[in-house]
């Protein structure tokens, strides 16, 4: 890509914690585990819409979504044991929620003050005539200026490259899952969710992929009872997938 011509954009979407608090408050719930489990569905639906608008943010949302799914699964299968690490992750999410809620109130209070328009004014910098004598710096050569700018350019490029790579990673993992799911369904008529995802990250990507494919009406899913394994089937047995 050429160096010139890119923009540093400043998207302002709600973060995952903010979204979660919003969902909990919309249902007038407190921040308990039960509430979290109740808004999991809403959160995943939001995640789904976000994927279309700002894939760059997905990575942060997926982390929170994975913890919500953990809570949900525990609520549904009370006899299942959470590992120490999983328990820690859930506690951590709860802590963030409580901190976040405090700051939300602080932000509202700050905004009230900000809007009161009782600004204190300082004087803008003020050029005292100093007899026009110039103080030249040591070591400032054309090469030094050139080198300094080179550093700055690399930093700016790194910012935009990082943005692009986060986006790509989130999009790729979901797309890959979709593709492998479709491939899988071509060879076997029914697949179990459990067999398709080994790690938690895979499960989330798979979950999103399923949502996508459902939306595009390419698959059907079946669950005989709540919290039983999900069975995934192609929509028509010989469908052109």
């Amino acid at each position: 890509m050429t160096l010139a011509g890119y923009e540093l954009k400043t998207p302002e979407f709600a973060g995952p914690i903010e979204k979660l608090v919003e969902l909990i408050e919309a249902k007038k719930l407190d921040s308990t585990r039960v509430s979290l489990s109740e808004v999991t569905g809403d959160f995943l639906r939001y995640l789904e819409t976000l994927a279309a608008v700002s894939p760059a943010l997905l990575a942060d949302f997926i982390v929170v979504a994975s913890r919500l799914l953990l809570i949900k699964s525990k609520a549904l299968l009370p006899e299942s044991e959470l590992s120490e690490e999983e328990e820690y992750d859930i506690k951590d999410l709860e802590t963030r929620l409580s901190i976040y809620r405090e700051f939300k109130h602080a932000a509202i209070a700050l905004n009230a003050r900000y809007k009161r328009r009782a600004q204190l004014f300082a004087r803008d910098y003020f050029l005292v005539p100093h007899g026009r004598h110039v103080v030249l710096p040591n070591g400032v050569t054309p090469q030094a200026l050139h080198q300094q700018l080179g550093q700055l350019m690399r930093a700016l490029e790194a910012i935009s490259a990082r943005e692009r790579s986060i986006t790509r990673r989130a999009v790729i993992s979901i797309e890959e899952k979709m593709r492998s799911l479709v491939r899988h369904l071509e060879t076997s008529a029914r697949s179990k969710f459990k067999d398709l995802a080994e790690t938690r990250e895979e499960a989330i990507a798979l979950f999103l992929a399923i949502l996508h494919l459902l939306k595009d009406q390419l698959i059907d899913i079946e669950q005989s009872e709540n919290f039983h394994d999900i069975i995934i089937k192609p929509r028509s047995p010989n469908g052109a997938l």
Binding site: E12, I17, Y100, L120, A122, D124
Partner: protein
Amino acid sequence: MEQKLKTIHALLFTYGEPLSLEKLARFAEIPKQEVGECIERLNTALMDTPFTVLSHENSFQLATRPEYASALEAALKSEVSEELTPASLETLAIIAYLGPVLRAKVDYIRGVNSSFILRNLLLRGLISRVPDPQRANTYVYSVSFDFLRHLGVRELSELPEFERYRKFLDGVRIAVSE
């Protein structure tokens, strides 16, 4: 007003920008440990004037009192402040009550990468950053004098419920410090 205070007043006036405690002591030729007390006495002496001294992170700046805001706003059309978005406000609140704070902590509390918002706030001059003394290549963020002035407070402790929030944060510090 005694001479020493007048000199400090004149220095803050001419300098315009926030002046650090060290520089103030050097230029006014007073011991560093006297600066805090002098600023306090200057603030008392300025009671009947339109001015007050802001203090933040061991620096000081002369500013007008809030009751002159409307006359001054008219004179300096440019300084009308823009609205703050919810995301900016939330980030500002975290930095104001928790600062100086690492980006990692801001990210942790918001659960999202905050680099764009931080950049935006830096551009608007509402926050400032300095290299973290403990870690190379890392910055810590604080609110700026401009932020204090916009909110009409002379120091952070005048922010709403400052003590309560600080205390709360002290309670969860372990969880936050990654």
